[in-house]
């Protein structure tokens, strides 16, 4: 855990500017077993200190790759000079943003290191189970990945605090030979916020899930291509989460709204069916701790939830202090940075579509010819809300029953049009939190959704 050597450096903050000083440590570990071979065995740490200084809305930022009192003073000085460099060249009068509530946040989780041997042995145990139980697989991969952030944030005119965000995962990927001689594969991630022993002290719970993953891989071996066109589908919870994050979430990040996203002209308008409500949660969601809780952002804003869509109406954006002032909204703790050398930018936290009242089995029974799309491999969207998600696991629905598995395919659409077609929403929410969002910097994010029945374009033959 970082020792606080920077709070005392508030005395170095210049007058007439707004300053945030941040001590920041990242740690990561990665172990990769490919068919039992240890192909990666890495650990990494980086620690440093940064300052962001704002003069009339123009930002100066500086960082140093070490963590001493002298570095703290130096980066404050350099960031102040950078802000003055830009302010001197800027046209028009900029403006400072309002001061925020004071407060002090304390770390909620300890970052605990596991022995590298313990990690490797655990991966080998899982790999050995897969090799012994499923000898027909052509390949298998077990990956352990861990990343943690430890930050101390000191501000001139907002909240301060010390926050810690450890998370770790084990991915199991199974590859079987397809009917046409081409391999098919699926993976599952285990883990979440916390350290190794929080999730993998006992791995017994993983094996039934691995068995289920194998069954789905075998289904996929017998899989068929989806028929290209616009279809009635049920998007699984993982797909719903991807939709919440990629297709809607990014368009309602205020910096992208300024850039011309489709959310700009649609504020307070209907963008989805009344069954759809979407929230970017800070630390608690649906009565439980959110998968990747955030308590304080890197501008010193105490984190709160943001309701983005309420009963189908677009109600808000995610903001930094600067954009909140521009849009007359309240900043809610979305400005975050990945490493000490990164400036905070607007990021999602735990973005979820709320559950409804329908049962999945009723939803499947309601479809005569369509698809149930369960797992997404990746997703992208742009300013128009046009999105694309890779579908790595799905099934046909024929006459109200699940049919054959699908080979990898893709769905696409325009978010605010597609969401208006949602007419059934399940009472179950599925979270995922193992990935990174990429937007200039990587950032861990959580996303979730219920099963939703809708109309969507699907790629295929």
């Amino acid at each position: 855990m970082l020792k606080d050597i920077i709070t005392a450096k508030k005395v170095c903050f210049a007058d007439g500017v707004q300053t945030v000083l941040r001590g920041h440590e990242n740690r990561s570990r990665q172990v990769v077993l490919l068919k039992g071979n240890l192909v990666r065995n890495d650990s990494s740490e980086s620690r440093g200190i940064s300052a962001r200084v704002t003069k009339n809305g123009r930002y100066g930022f500086a960082s140093a790759a070490s963590y001493t009192e002298a570095d703290a003073e130096a980066v404050v000085r350099a960031a102040t000079e950078n802000a003055l460099f830009l302010d001197a060249r800027a046209q028009g009068a900029g403006r400072s943003y309002p001061a925020l509530a004071n407060g002090s946040v304390k770390p909620r989780r300890e970052i605990r290191d596991a022995q590298q041997k313990r990690i490797i042995d655990t991966c080998h145990e899982i790999d050995a189970y897969v090799e012994k139980t499923y000898p027909d697989l052509v390949s298998r991969t077990v990956v352990y990945t861990e990343d943690s952030q430890d930050k101390i944030i000191v501000t001139s005119d907002a909240a301060c605090g010390h926050v810690t965000y450890p998370r770790c995962y084990i991915y199991v990927m199974l590859t079987a030979m397809g009917k046409n001689g081409a391999p098919v594969e699926l993976f599952k991630a285990f883990g979440g916020a916390g350290s190794f022993e929080d999730h993998f002290a006992d791995t017994a719970y993983m094996y039934p899930e691995i068995d289920s993953l194998y069954t789905r891989v075998r289904d996929k071996v017998e899989g068929v291509y989806a028929e290209a066109g616009v279809k009635t589908v049920i998007l699984g919870g993982m797909m719903g989460g991807m939709l919440a994050h990629e297709a809607v979430g990014h368009t309602v990040e205020a910096d992208l709204v300024i850039g011309g996203s489709v959310a700009g002209p649609n504020l307070n308008k209907r963008v989805a069916s009344e069954l759809v409500t979407l929230t970017d949660y800070a630390s608690t969601a649906f009565g439980r701790e959110a998968p990747l809780p955030v308590y304080l952002d890197d501008e010193g804003t105490l984190a709160q939830d943001v309701t983005l869509i309420k009963d189908g109406i677009l109600t808000g954006y995610m903001n930094s202090r600067e954009t909140a002032q521009l849009f007359g909204m309240t900043p809610a703790g979305n400005a975050r940075a990945w490493t000490f050398s990164d400036e905070p930018i607007i990021r999602m936290r735990n973005t979820a579509i709320h559950p409804g009242k329908d049962k999945l089995e009723d939803m499947i029974a309601s479809i005569d010819d369509g698809y149930y799309l369960i797992e997404s491999s990746n997703g992208q969207a742009d300013l128009t809300g046009e999105f694309m998600f890779g579908v790595s696991l799905g099934y046909e629905i024929k006459h109200g029953r699940l049919g054959k598995a699908l080979l990898d395919t893709t769905v696409s659409g325009i978010a605010f049009e597609m969401l208006k077609t949602v007419d059934m929403v399940s009472d179950n929410v599925t979270w995922s939190s193992s990935g990174f969002c990429g937007k200039k910097q990587p950032m861990p994010v959580g996303m979730a959704g219920p099963e939703m029945r809708c109309r969507i374009s699907i790629g295929g033959r």
């Binding site: 068919k35 065995n41 790759a65 390949s139 594969e185 990746n378 694309m388 395919t409």
Partner: protein
């Protein structure tokens, strides 16, 4: 700047004292000076000083790696200790190794010390030019930096590679915008060794801006048909990376899932296709200098006139498979130009798309892909009919490169790669 030779020397002593027989170390110092705009207003000036120390330790065929950014004696000791612990925790694997001794070399790239006033003026010139020439382009952000680095790689076989680099880069993020009408997000960028030319004139920036401006009134393709696609250099770069990932990279050769694993020396693509990974190429600013294994990087031809000449295997993968190591880790890709003008390619299309980008996942091992055609235009009877949206393309990655109909004589150089336009057939195109 720190004395990185002295730090490497300290690391060597610590490794020897820890009983590490074989090792590779890398020490680097970096300075980034970044200017960002929001719209056309410069609103962030960022200066970051970075340090990196990486150690890979081999103990009796066991391997562990560790890295950090603490150059103090305690920090160096910790990195060495963690790498050695990692090695001791690993199973023995005789495939773990480093390259044999290579001649020492000092590499220099670009302009080591930045001229930030001149850079600011070049960037201001870019935003002013875009505003003047493309009134329906809304710049979201310009992210531009000078990245200075000094690094030293050394290993226990006596190899030492020292690298000095100073590279300017600029990435423009923008969209077409006309009142409430907006296009999808577009971006383009270049990397530069110096500031001799206006940024607007480099790479494909001007063309991408014009294409985006012409995309404000998209048309619907409607229905589903099989047709041609012309991949722009940007889209070809994306498909080229998918090709390497699916058929040529170390992971898919090692685990046996590449459909080309037994096709070295055989025809795998169209006769017109030649793909190279470059280590020295005057057209590319940031060529790789040495591989992670400690080889001096070499120019490698991956596919020559449709014949598979090389996989991309690091030393571990080569030792595991018994195949040859590839003395290039990739990054600076070249696809040789053809002899067809782009205008002739477009004129030859009966029905199809010019694809400016692909929004889809990495294809499965069988090469089947589907995704959204981004920044794309519909072509019918040799004429561009208009920009499209909500249009998907699907096909097979192997077939894309086997069914090449033409490769353009024009080639785009953006500092990272040299890529032409490529026309292929047999693609399923479906509109909403």
């Amino acid at each position: 700047m720190a004395d990185i030779k002295n730090i490497v020397s300290q690391l060597k002593s610590l490794l020897t004292a820890s009983g590490v027989e074989k090792y590779a170390v890398s020490v680097a110092e970096t300075e980034k000076r970044e200017l960002n705009t929001e719209g056309t207003n410069f609103n962030l000036y960022r200066t970051t000083f970075g340090k990196r120390v990486s150690v890979t330790a081999f103990i009796g065929g066991k391997k562990g790696s560790s890295s950090g950014n603490d150059f103090t004696p305690e920090g160096l000791e910790k990195v060495v200790k963690t790498a050695a612990q990692g090695a001791n925790s690993s199973p023995e694997d005789p495939a773990n190794d480093i390259a044999a001794y290579q001649e020492p070399a000092v590499f220099k790239t670009g302009t080591y010390e930045p001229d930030m006033d001149a850079f600011y003026l070049r960037l201001k010139e870019l935003t002013d030019t875009v505003s003047a020439k493309h009134p329906k382009i809304k710049i979201m952000a310009l992210i531009a930096s000078h990245d200075k680095g000094h690094s030293l790689y050394a290993n226990s076989n006596g190899t030492e590679f020292e690298d000095y680099s100073g590279i300017y880069s600029a990435v423009l993020e923008f969209a077409g915008n006309d009142g409430e009408k907006t296009t999808g997000l577009a971006y383009d960028g270049v990397i530069m060794g110096d500031l001799a030319k206006p940024v607007y004139t480099l790479g494909n920036i001007a063309k991408t801006l014009a294409d985006t401006e012409n995309s404000l009134n998209p048309i619907s393709v409607g229905g589903k048909f099989e047709g041609d696609i012309i991949l722009t250099p940007a889209a070809l770069g994306e498909f080229g990376m998918m090709l390497v990932g699916n058929y040529i990279s170390a992971g898919v050769i090692m685990d046996g899932t590449s459909l080309w694993k037994d096709k070295l020396g055989q025809k795998v693509a169209s006769d017109s296709l030649t793909v190279r990974a470059q280590a020295q190429d005057s057209r590319i600013v940031a060529c790789q200098k040495h591989t992670g294994d400690g080889y001096a990087a070499e120019n490698v031809t991956l596919i020559e006139k449709g014949v598979l000449k090389s996989f991309m295997l690091n030393l571990y993968a080569a030792n595991k498979t018994g195949l040859s190591v590839t003395k290039n880790d990739g990054g600076a890709f070249v696809i040789d130009e053809g002899d067809t003008p782009v205008a002739d390619m477009i004129a030859s299309v009966k029905r199809g798309l010019i694809v400016g980008g692909f929004s889809g996942g990495q294809p499965g091992a069988n090469g089947e892909f589907s995704g959204v055609a981004k920044n794309s235009f519909y072509v019918e009877d040799g004429k561009i009919k208009g920009a499209v949206m909500e249009t998907m393309i699907s096909g097979n990655l192997e077939a894309v490169f086997a069914n090449v109909k033409a490769i353009s004589k024009e080639q785009v150089l953006d500092g990272n790669s040299a890529l032409p336009y490529l026309q292929t057939g047999g693609i399923t195109i479906s509109g909403n």
